[in-house]
């Protein structure tokens, strides 16, 4: 445009395909030749996927146990109703039976029902800068954490916020009641969080030869916690502080009010758990701390095996199958319509 052309046609626009709107272009059109085959093809694909997924899902096992008031836990349930008993420990046991052995890796989840981790203010009530180990934020938590940013004495809370404060603090011990007596089911409690969470998102403040308690000196544990953050895992001192797996799992907020979170994975090193969980009776001993009665919630334990695409999930294959049927139906209807009314573009005549 910038250059001045000589001659009487100086102001004539350039004859470029772009300026004259003549760019080579593909103008597709929805004709029967393309649309109908596409529909059949889609239906077929969905059908195949659905069947395959369904078969895969069939091979998984899942067990859910609502232990809120199950077994001896009804006592603890009653006990937790009173806030003044909050500090008192309560241990109860729930019993269940596995009819068919769980083959392969078995995953142990705890589930909460009707617990809203997805409330806006709840989700905002955390300080990621604190949890990534920023020194400044450790002592002066973000205002988003209010009212869980400082305790009554004005000492900053670490980790601050409603999310950390409400951490699920039941613990479980699973036992297999074999013929030879009760065998404790070994659970791996590590590697249950995202890699990025464990290694990037949550970091302890740099220690510089200080012990973790020293680093966290001058901070208070969240109000509902019984233990300070640097003392969450008494067995493994590298699993303490902000990089505690249970804390990380809890801090990854659930999208829906009912959710399950990974508690542990079956350690398949020894018999009889090399192939998974054998069929039989099991008991789970629960250190019942987390009160759910305030918000009419439920607690449960979930045991499941996995396939390549995750745990037992019947919705996906069924959705695919239903979709495929619908597409097929539409395809057939379209074919009929086309054949009767619009074949060979007869409506295209003017």
């Amino acid at each position: 445009m910038g250059k001045v052309k000589p001659g009487p046609l100086a102001r004539r626009p350039d004859n470029s395909a772009f300026q004259q709107q003549r760019l080579p272009a593909w103008s597709p059109m929805l004709t029967a030749n393309t649309v109908l085959p596409f529909f059949y093809f889609m239906a077929l694909i969905c059908m195949l996927l659905g069947v395959w997924l369904l078969l895969t899902v069939q091979s998984t096992e899942e067990l859910k146990l609502d232990y809120t008031e199950a077994g001896t836990c009804n006592l603890c349930f009653e006990k937790r109703k009173n806030v003044s008993n909050a500090a008192q420990p309560c241990i109860c046991t729930a019993v269940f039976n596995i009819k068919k052995a769980f083959k392969g890796d078995v995953f142990f989840y705890y589930g909460l029902i009707n617990f809203h981790q997805n409330l806006r203010r709840y989700m905002d009530s955390r300080d990621d800068a604190q949890m990534v180990g920023r020194k400044n934020n450790l002592k002066s938590p973000s205002s988003y954490c209010m009212p869980f940013d400082k305790d009554k004495n004005g000492v900053p809370i670490a980790p601050c916020g409603a999310v950390a404060n409400s951490i699920f603090n039941d613990s479980f011990t699973l036992s297999y009641m074999s013929s030879s007596g009760s065998v404790r089911v070994p659970l791996l409690r590590k590697g249950i969080s995202w890699y990025t969470d464990k290694n990037i998102k949550y970091r302890n403040p740099s220690t510089e030869n200080m012990t973790l308690p020293q680093v966290f000196e001058g901070t208070a544990p969240p109000l509902y916690w019984q233990k300070p953050v640097y003392d969450l895992d008494p067995l493994d001192k590298n699993n303490n502080g902000f990089i505690n797996d249970d804390l990380i799992v809890w801090m990854r907020e659930a999208a829906f009010p009912s959710f399950k979170k990974l508690y542990g994975v079956l350690h398949r090193a020894n018999k009889p758990f090399i192939n998974g969980l054998p069929a039989g009776n099991y008991s789970v001993e629960i250190s019942y701390n987390f009160p759910v009665q305030y918000f009419r919630g439920r607690k449960e334990v979930v045991l499941t095996t996995l396939t390549w695409f995750g745990g037992q999930n019947h919705f996906l294959p069924i959705a695919y199958l239903v979709t495929s049927c619908l597409i097929l139906l539409i395809a057939i209807l379209l074919t009929v319509f086309w054949f009767k009314f619009g074949k060979n573009g007869q409506n295209m005549e003017e």
Binding site: Y144, D197, F256, G311, Y320, F337
Partner: protein, 1333 residues
Amino acid sequence: MFRKRPPPEEERKVRANDREYNEKFQYASNCIMTSKYNIVTFLPVNLFEQFQEVANTYFLFLLILQLIPQISSLSWFTTIVPLALVLSITAVKDATDDYFRHKSDSQVNNRQSQVLIRGSLQNEKWMNVRVGDIIKLENNQFVAADLLLLSSSEPHGLCYIETAELDGESNMKVRQSVSVTSELGDQNNLASFDGEVVCEPPNNKLDRFCGTLYWRDKKYTLSNQNMLLRGCVLRNTEACYGLVIFAGPDTKLMQNSGRTKFKRTSIDRLMNTLVLWIFGFLVCMGVILAVGNAVWEREVGFLFQSYLPWDPPVDNFLFSAFLSFWSYVIILNTVVPISLYVSVEVIRLGHSYFINWDRQMFCSQCNTPAEARTTTLNEELGQVEYIFSDKTGTLTQNIMSFNKCSINGQTYGEASDPLGPQPKRLDFTPFNPLADPDFCFYDDTLLEAVKVGDTHTHKFFRLLSLCHTVMSEEKSEGELLYKAQSPDEGALVTAARNFGFVFRSRTPGTITTTEMGRSVTYTLLAILDFNNIRKRMSVIVRNSEGRICLYCKGADTVLLERLHPCNQELMNITSDHLNEYAADGLRTLALAYRDLSEDEWEAWSERHRSAAKAASCREDRLAATYEQIEQDMVLLGATAIEDKLQEGVPETIAVLSLANIKIWVLTGDKQETAVNIGYSCKMLTDDMTEVFIISGHTVQSVRQELRRARDRMIEMSRTRDGKEEGVEGCFMGNGFREGQGDSRGGEKQLQCPPPPPSNLMDNISGEFALVINGHSLAHALEADMETEFVSTACACKAVICCRVTPLQKAQVVEMIKKHKKAVTLAIGDGANDVSMIKSAHIGVGISGQEGIQAVLASDYSFSQFRFLQRLLLVHGRWSYLRMCRFLCYFFYKNFAFTMVHFWFGFYCGFSAQTVYDQYFITLYNIVYTSLPVLAMGIFDQDVPDQRSLEYPKLYEPGQLNLLFNKREFFICIAQGIYTSVVLFFVPCAILSDATQSTGVPLADYQTFAVTTATALVIVVSVQIALDTGFWTVINHVFVWGSLGLYFSIMLALQSQTLFGIFPNQFHFVGSAQSTLLQPVVWLTIALATAICIVPVLAFRFLKVDLKPQLSDTVRYTQLVRQKKRKPAGRSVGGAWRGVGSVSEGRLGARGSSRRSGYAFAHTEGFGELITSGKNMRLSSLAMATFASRHSSSWIDTLRRKKHSHTNTPPSASGESSPAPSCVSGSIPPLSNSSSVLCGSQDAPIEEETGAAPDTQTASTSSTQNPPAPAPASEAADGLAQTLNAGVLTPAALRSQGGDSPGGWTISLGAVQEALLRWKGRASASNSPVKLAE
């Protein structure tokens, strides 16, 4: 900038040549400023303007809401980033616009004009011209300011101006200076002129000026007759001097150009309504969610308080609900996307550029591309229903050409055979050296008849050469310039000139012509001037033999009544010819003469004298005397003048009317002219059922005429329908309803004047046309008659309004806008069209002509009327289509995007938690989804441009507003909501149970957010892919690019680096990596996409397959190529292409309607001017001085160069005194040589060569018989020689022909070139010898 505005003027005092005095009053300078900002004021003013937009204020309000922590559900930047983007894009656009305004201002302001400062002429920029300056204007220059004409080069201080710029009237006007100042003459006297003008303050009345000139203790009244207004062009006047009275913004031109109204398109208005609805919808959603929040907080949240206590100010659930309402307003605000308006602007800008770039709308003759001056109206171009067109300069070129004639029952100029070879254009030069080379005629039989000496033909052309009020100017020998007051007359006199009857000069009492090479002088006895009532003019002349003859030309209707009844047969034949001509849309005139005896003349002239002296009723008595003598005339023949249509006008009108666009012609011209043009551009045809003419002068008569027209229409269409009833069922229905309506209407008619039975009028079949006069229109536009007029006029195929004022033009447009709710387009070229251009939805200005007023007021401008079809049918249609598709998609994608939050509300306790990451919300509209839809909005095409011209019916969806209306909007919304349901519930159902292959649950919020966002982006991308009908490279790049951009930006935003810097802002770290590696996530996305798209695809397929639109059909045929080069489609374009601008291809049946008209754009009074001799040069002496003064002017030079091929090469030597005289004879050397070369056939002319110099030399010496005004310099030569014979040195002479050397070489070149053409007949070596003489 901040200068205090002086108080409004009471009166204006201007003293010439006295800047100090004038500066006291602080009059505006001649600098005009149309720009809005300067560098300092730009930012505040522009921001202020932008925040006056409701949308922008709304987003500002949202921004403030977001700053309240209890409410803020989104970070502040989700609003401020798009807002800043939008504001800056708009600001850049405004700045560019204003820059161009600055540029055009400075271009105008920097034009040069010659100002008389301290006695000498100095070049000054226009902006430096001050009130009170005296400036000099030269021919064809624009007047720089409103001037009081002081003196001019023409006698009596006359000067001619063209006011087309101002009022659109293309005929020339005369202005005259006050006599005292006209005597001042040259600049020395003017420099000492110190008169003072006291006049009215600046106003916008173009035709009025009152003031007084005080000079030398005398008062002179000034009127509009003395004024030259800014914007006028000086014509046919060498130069003139004027005193600046009003300058710059005070000029009448600027006072008239009011602030342009801001135009909005109907899509704009619809969009605004829809946006309001969406706001309503938003509030509803907010309320629903707030109620939900109240319930939830009361039932659940209340219990949940131990984990999440309410915010401090919240003490109950109701307050929480109130806050939640505002939080949701923030979240859901994306249903009214901030980028909507800016995207629309961008798309329109793109379309405007395509209009500017269109080579097919580029006029190579005038080097003018089309220009979209307003960038906001493009899609409205696709919805036009009514076009209001000016006539002169718009439909026509305002060039008259002598096309045909009928002489003594023989018609000439007939195009032989439209299919045969193009007839050759006649070359007049060998026959007649004085011929105008630009004249075109194709029938050589007429030339033969002239050469043979047919008396009738000779009489015919003699009449044409004598009976007129044209004035001639002969710059140099043989170079005649006619100053015709109307182009028709010019055309006739030029025709006579070319056929050997050359009108050369006139004095008040004589007319000198060259008849077949022989100079003849007639004594002019009387001019019986033209007026509207007489519709004819006559001259009475005495020829050299003493015979007196009356020559008359006039409208055939008038003239045929006054013929001698002896030759009835000739009258019949001529009458037939006239009909033929009229059917071709030519302007016809009948010619007649009458020989008068000396006694008759004496008797009549006595009566005439007494009538002329009469004190009372002079006009009437004169007319009566004229009437007496214009009797018993003998018919000579008829002429047909073509008012040259612009190229392609009939075709364009035909195509546009096929596109169901109604075209109204609104013209200031006479009824006859307008109707003629109506016929010639095929708006009116002879097949039309009836053409109604409304010309009543009173309210009653207009009402009656309208009513009669309506009754006729109903009657006629009923009879037509009756005939077709058996054939077509649909007509039966019409007929039935009409019958009913009519009977009811009939009853009502008895009681009160019936309201126009509109349902009846809608069903008129048959082609009617309405012609309405200005004075009738004035009544028809009155409030109570409007509806009646509209219903009548709109039932007609064509409507022509003639003699309308600019104001009425606007009123007509307003009326249609009001009553029809249709999109109107006004097209015109003159300042008289400005009002209608401004009031119509779309104003189009014809550029490239002289005037720029209309262009300045217009929204689009181009230089040819025919480009209108491309503008509307191609660009307009595409724009509309693209805009509609864009809007549909845009609303769809935002609903799909936003409504997901609504569904999530039910799961998250109505806590106003968003589904997506805040960055996704920020970027979704401005990055992830903006480009593909912009590309579609800018580049999409459903059918190629040729097809839309071939099938004008494709335009109809736009007029009916089918592509985007409330229904379509709801469909989009529904689709959007459906998509949002799918996008929320499918991932929700799948993910809530699913886990990663590592066992980690997928139901966490971040995974869900990423999955939903990805699914959304993919679904809307697939949808845009479906919507895009024209996949250019750009579309591909944008669609794929957007997807790629989405993933890369997401990965970047969730990367470790950003998290490391701002951990609280980028807490989604790692979600994308973790999520997108999961097969379940992809299965979810695929499923959601399939569920979203499949129904859409099915519906679209069914729609195309079962109920295809015309565009689908066209597309299909194109795709399948079943019928190659579809003959039916071609015929539309092809057949019309054959209808040339000339008369071949007569479509309408020839016959019945004769539309004769003395169709002159003529005003009376020129005859008087001539006979008074006012406009004649008084003495040769004056001319000599004039000539010497001006011979060096560049215009002269230019002209000489231009005409050098007929011009004398200045003989550059004083010694050869015969040369000038020889030259001033009728045969210039070039022609001379050529006539020598082919002398054998041009014998008579050869003889004349000798005779002509005699008259010439004789005339120079005798002042009593003034010379044929040979071009001034030549006359000066002659004069100088006679007066100072021998004294004059050759050098002095040479200096007079200022351009000699250059002129010489150029003309020599031209001569040689011309000679080469004669190669073969004579050797080229001949001529240099001759020239050297």
